[in-house]
Symmetry: C2
Subunit: 332 residues, 2 copies
């Protein structure tokens, strides 16, 4: 089993914690570990393929040392091409476990069982996706409708009404963005359903410039490849799909509100922090990267993020607006 980790995306919804140079998956806020490091630790594989922006390479190398092949993209082309490059640079019979780098999975025992089952299906030339049992009507994820291990349909991000129906129904799972298949199976299905992407990736790969442990993909070549997700390019069309329902305490840490659910709290519900001074203040999320005091009085439910260059202060429950703040900032 080779673990393929997708590190693309700079995560504007977590600005200023996450920037292009230091994206969220590399920020060490979980007792000194990053989500990337926790992903490595959780899988403990013999082989890794890491797909990332070339700007992130120096940082990634400080967080993983061994058994690692890096694929650097100068520009991101979404997941279908990224995974294609991982598959093209693997043995065709090799089973790939494809994982985003910004998930937190807390039930490791159950996770390992799911991976075993997925690997079994992958060896039977299936494309496996992992479905997460929804715990609330999230509107920010795609859903998979399934019966046992068979996929009935893929669903786009629903509105709240529809999400509530999905939740009540019991046949619907969050599409986690984790996959498992043989390199060969994925490439065959990609060629079948998205031949343009397959051909473009193959051409770029054959012109490749790689040294021992790094495949470097420059923008001028990548720009020839259609930018498309694996779901649109392959999963929604293939007849070889299997789903592994995964009750693994899974969290996608894509926003400060979701980060807040996993960070340790003190007795007032404020994020644990040695340099925090508090008077009549509770339930505040505090993330800071600088060694400075933060003092609070008479505030509740705030999101406070201090990075090297900026300070962000907002209201819990509204962290979707960080993206708007980020965009406003760019226009300044």
């Amino acid at each position: 089993l080779k673990t393929v980790i997708l590190c693309g995306g700079s995560g504007t919804r977590l600005w200023p914690l996450s920037t292009t140079e230091s994206p969220k998956q590399f920020v060490q806020i979980f007792n000194g570990k990053s989500l990337f490091e926790k992903t490595i630790e959780r899988n403990n594989s013999d082989k890794y393929s890491i797909i990332l922006n070339e700007k992130q390479l120096p940082l990634a190398k400080t967080q993983i040392a061994e058994n690692c092949f890096f694929i650097t993209e100068e520009v991101g082309r979404n997941t279908a091409p990224a995974i294609a490059f991982a598959a093209l640079s693997s043995d065709p019979e090799e089973v790939l476990l494809v994982l985003p780098s910004d998930h937190l999975i807390e039930n490791i025992e159950e996770y390992k069982k799911c991976i075993e089952l997925a690997e079994q299906y992958a060896k039977e030339d299936k494309l496996v996706t992992f479905g997460i049992k929804p715990t609330y009507p999230e509107t920010g994820y795609g859903y998979i409708q399934a019966k046992e291990h068979d996929v009935l349909s893929f669903k786009e991000k629903p509105d709240l009404e529809t999400a509530k129906k999905y939740l009540a129904d019991g046949e619907y799972y969050w599409n986690s963005g984790m996959f498992c298949f043989k390199a060969k199976t994925f490439l065959e299905e990609l060629q079948k359903y998205s031949p343009q992407i397959y051909d473009a990736c193959k051409t770029v790969y054959e012109e490749k410039k790689s040294d021992n442990n790094t495949l470097t993909l420059p923008a001028d070549k990548l720009n020839r490849i259609p930018s498309l997700s694996i779901d649109y390019a392959v999963m929604e069309h293939s007849e070889k799909i299997k789903v592994v329902p995964s009750d693994i305490n899974w969290k996608d840490l894509g926003s400060f509100d979701s980060l807040d659910t996993v960070l340790d709290k003190d007795e007032n519900g404020n994020t644990q922090n040695e340099r925090l001074i508090v008077h009549e203040s509770k339930n505040n999320l505090i993330i800071k990267q600088l060694d400075k005091d933060i003092a609070l009085f008479n505030v509740e439910d705030l999101i406070i993020v201090q990075s090297e260059g900026s300070i962000l202060i907002g209201k819990k429950g509204k962290s979707q607006n960080v993206k708007k703040v980020f965009e406003l900032r760019k226009t300044k």
Copy 2:
């Protein structure tokens, strides 16, 4: 007329904007000017005597260049001794206008008229105090009960009920802490009503170590002098008091809530700031001393102060709690 400016007090209620090394009166937050500079500018005197902590001297010297005599105290002994040193180092017949350094006065024309009247009384050997017409029932100031220019009584900080009565009555003024008198008159009255302070100051002054423009008062000498305010030591006892009612748009900037009333706002009611990025946020006080972006989303009525070493975030209307935060921090 010699202007005597009292710069004592580090202002814990304005931490972290105000620290011992850089107290509030020297922080340049009014279009690049400090309260100290605005005090100098407002009075435009031929001569100044500046009384301050010796740690503040380098900073003060960057904000005033000419016609200035500095009296540095290694430890503060309250206003009676400070003013005694200013008087002892002046010509006995010289009229002193004694001013705190942390006031803002916006009606300059009226202010000048008040000073003229005060100077006239001072030349007649009176001790003049300036009474501010109250605009709301403030409980944090002392009050002066007066009839025309005659003082009936000095009142300590009242409770809210009493403050409301004072406000309704019309005979009561806020005790502004500004004074005007001849050096000689003040020293005579000090000797009469607080001979211990007078004698101690005189002794210390005679052992003085001063160069051209600085009188340096070390802690071991100052500690021999009783620490007492001019109100307790002289004003409440003397029969030579006159009051000048002053309708001068006066503000004592002792808290972030009071600072908020005088800083310029943008169209959303947030403090004007070039590096501010705002989404659905209004009426926030933002004071920052570092060249960093501050981004806000969905927050209102916050006090946000960013200094070199710390960040303070709290709720408007509660800035009296800054003092508590400051004390908590010291015990950490």
